[in-house]
């Protein structure tokens, strides 16, 4: 049932795959962070000795750039794990958008409807077509969570 992290050979290999992409993204984000550090962290200098609020982020972002660049260079000739099937990415993206939509609509639709919708659509995405498991089970679980939250944990749900 578990989905093991893919090894380069498990899901096919490619010259530049997911690891290269992630490493490049981290490198790019760290560089952006470094470039926008002045704007994102306003420092009021009262002449105190020692490092200011930009010191640690600058240190970490430089280290991040260094390690990401080193990894990209070190693995430049290593076969990378392939991106994987487009259908899989489409399903994962659909699941992400579904949860994002549920979060956005939760204040309007309420907790039970939003969360039940997440459960129903996810069950369908995972291949469940029988009504009692794809509709009834998520609905019952959503109602049970809401009941426990309100009466057991005294949490005000949207």
């Amino acid at each position: 049932m578990s989905v093991e992290p893919p090894s380069p050979t498990a899901h096919g290999t490619s010259r530049h795959g997911l690891q290269t992409l992630i490493c490049s993204a981290i490198l790019g984000l760290a560089a952006c962070g470094l470039l926008t550090l002045q704007a994102q962290v306003t420092v009021f200098d009262f002449g105190d000795p020692g490092p200011d609020a930009r010191f640690f982020p600058r240190l970490v972002l430089w280290l991040l750039i260094l390690v990401a660049a080193l990894r990209l260079w070190r693995h430049r000739r290593t076969p990378d794990s392939a991106l994987g099937a487009a259908a899989g990415w489409a399903r994962a993206l659909a699941a992400m958008l579904l949860v994002a939509a549920a979060i956005a609509a939760m204040n309007t639709l309420g907790f039970i409807v939003s969360v039940a919708a997440v459960g129903i659509v996810l069950a369908w995405l995972l291949g469940e077509r029988r009504l009692r498991f794809s509709v009834l089970l998520p609905l019952v679980v959503a109602l049970a969570i809401a009941w426990v939250a309100r009466h057991g944990l005294h949490l005000p749900l949207p």
């Binding site: 049932m1 578990s2 989905v3 992290p5 893919p6 997911l18 690891q19 992409l21 992630i22 490493c23 962070g33 994102q40 962290v41 306003t42 420092v43 009021f44 105190d48 020692g50 490092p51 200011d52 609020a53 640690f56 970490v60 280290l63 991040l64 390690v67 080193l70 070190r74 794990s81 994987g84 899989g88 990415w89 399903r91 994962a92 659909a94 699941a95 992400m96 949860v99 994002a100 979060i103 939760m106 039940a116 997440v118 459960g119 129903i120 996810l122 069950a123 995972l126 291949g127 469940e128 498991f133 089970l137 998520p138 679980v141 969570i145 939250a149 944990l153 005294h154 949490l155 749900l157």
Partner: protein, 501 residues
């Protein structure tokens, strides 16, 4: 103190928490793919209304139960419920195939309990003195200690050092978001008031370990569950008449002791987890056994050794977490989050400020062995049915619980969005094979590391000599350098062996 702590345990909620925790842990551990980290992260919201002692006992019960539960599917299906149970499957599954599933499960259970009690006794002996020692630590020493912990996680966490370093730094960088710990200035909040509190730990945990698993399942699509692969052949033998007597356990006493010691010691070191000690103790038991040739073909000692070791990690990993506030692996990082939510901040002051609670938790850890044995024996057959649950039924429920869990921390939809963001990051990183525990530990240790580093530099007016003048700091630096050399030597040897092969 110990008596006061015992009195604190005489509460019906403690009993309920222990029973529920162990039962939930065994069930979740038995389901391949759902480990203790995910279970504890999802259960944290349930503990909000509980007082600290039952709340922590519930989560520690889940931890203990899940580590043992992982061996059920390892033995019956040859599919380890948790990664640390992989070594158990080497002999456990052949035993099940020989019609000795019941015997293998009982050995796994008793060895688990032995390892757990052993490590808890070490925890009681070591944690308080270590915390007292750490009371003398100033900011410079804490900086060196946390750098040492992060270095160990990067060097010995398994897999590529560069990948672990990258993930640790990503975690530390994520910890920068929010108000800075010294001057309270907002950093990378992009004008959002909600982001000034930083990334809340619990939503990030739930996202990294629960939501990412849901997204991985969505990526994989409809999968065949274990039930469809046929488990009936071995599952019917769980109630085999061959009971495990005290004599057979007595014959394994040295293996149990050595494996428990390996598990406890490795558990104390940050970042290594419970998989490595399970395999190390398996190899050690095989090398010193008179029946070494039988290992891998259904030798009971081959089940006892890894089970004692991976359960002994439980108590060992709690030593640095409770005494120094340094989590050893992903599970202890989640438990650390639960401690903080209950107002029990792990670290040197924990024993001074909450001594009764801490000792009550220690005593409860030992006493948890009783429900572990009772429920373990009672749930062998039930667990077989749990393993049959299909991913397409389970993961929609996990997604729903994840949304609720993230919301319940601060009643904030921002936290749910953080959980989803962490889930997406966790999904992409896991797809690419990057390790998540270093990221999580970097996120937890990043803010206190910055605080200590800047405090140390402020007290020395910006001079780095404060680190050179402290013998403790220099000692930790030397140990860190030795670890770097050790890791380099280990890699060199592995590469040479590979070339020779």
């Amino acid at each position: 103190m110990l008596l006061d702590a015992f009195h604190a345990l005489l509460d019906v909620w403690v009993l309920i928490a222990a029973l529920c925790g162990v039962a939930i842990g065994i069930v979740i551990g038995a389901i391949p793919g759902l480990g203790p980290t995910l279970a504890i992260a999802l259960l944290i919201p349930v503990t909000f209304t509980l007082s600290p002692i039952p709340a922590i006992i519930l989560l520690l019960g889940v931890y203990q139960g899940a580590i043992f539960g992982g061996s059920i599917s390892a033995i019956l299906l040859n599919v380890p419920g948790t990664p640390s149970s992989a070594a158990t499957a080497l002999d456990g599954h052949p035993m099940a195939r020989q019609g000795r599933a019941g015997e293998a499960l009982r050995i796994a259970l008793y060895a688990s309990v032995f390892g757990n009690v052993f490590s808890c006794l070490v925890l009681i002996l070591l944690a308080q003195p270590l915390a007292s020692l750490a009371l003398d630590f100033g900011p410079a020493q804490m900086t060196a200690l946390m750098t040492f912990a992060l270095a160990i996680i990067v060097l010995f966490g398994g897999g590529s050092i560069l990948d672990a370093a990258l993930m640790t730094l990503v975690g530390v960088a994520a910890g920068i978001v929010g108000l800075d710990p010294i001057e309270g200035l907002p950093r990378f909040t992009f004008g959002s008031f909600a982001a000034e509190d930083g990334l809340a730990l619990i939503p990030v945990l739930i996202g990294l370990f629960a939501m990412s698993e849901v997204l991985l399942q969505a990526f994989a699509g409809r999968q065949q569950g274990p039930a469809e692969r046929g488990i009936d052949a071995v599952s019917s033998q769980t109630s085999s008449p061959r009971a495990v007597g005290w004599l057979s356990l007595w014959k394994m006493r040295v293996t149990l002791l050595i494996s428990s010691a390996i598990g406890t010691f490795v558990g104390i070191l940050p970042g290594i987890g419970s998989t490595v000690p399970a395999f190390v103790s398996y190899g050690f038991a095989r090398s010193r056994s008179r029946h070494g040739a039988r290992f891998g073909h259904g030798e009971p000692e081959g089940v006892a050794a890894p089970e004692a070791a991976n359960n002994a990690v439980t108590g060992g990993a709690l030593v640095p977490m409770l005494a120094l506030g340094i989590p050893g692996d992903a599970v202890t990082a989640v438990i650390l989050g639960a401690f903080m939510l209950q107002g029990l901040t792990p670290g040197p002051f924990l024993f001074q400020q909450h001594g009764v609670e801490v000792y009550a938790i220690f005593e409860a850890l030992i006493l948890l062995s009783i429900p572990c044995i009772l429920l373990g024996l009672a749930m062998f057959r039930g667990a077989v049915h749990v393993i049959r649950i299909q991913p397409r039924h389970l993961f929609p429920i996990i997604a729903m619980l994840a949304i609720f869990g993230a919301f319940s921390v601060n009643n904030s939809l921002f936290d749910v969005a953080v959980m989803l963001g962490a889930g997406v990051v966790g999904f992409v990183l896991r797809r690419a094979g990057f390790p998540l525990p270093p990221l999580l530990i970097g996120l937890i240790l990043g803010p206190p590391l910055e605080q200590s580093l800047r405090q140390a530099l402020l007290t020395s007016s910006g001079s780095a000599t404060i680190f050179v003048h402290s013998p403790i700091v220099m000692g930790l630096v030397v140990v860190t350098l030795l670890c770097v050399l050790g890791a380099a030597y280990q890699r060199y040897r592995a590469a040479r062996r590979e070339r020779a092969a």
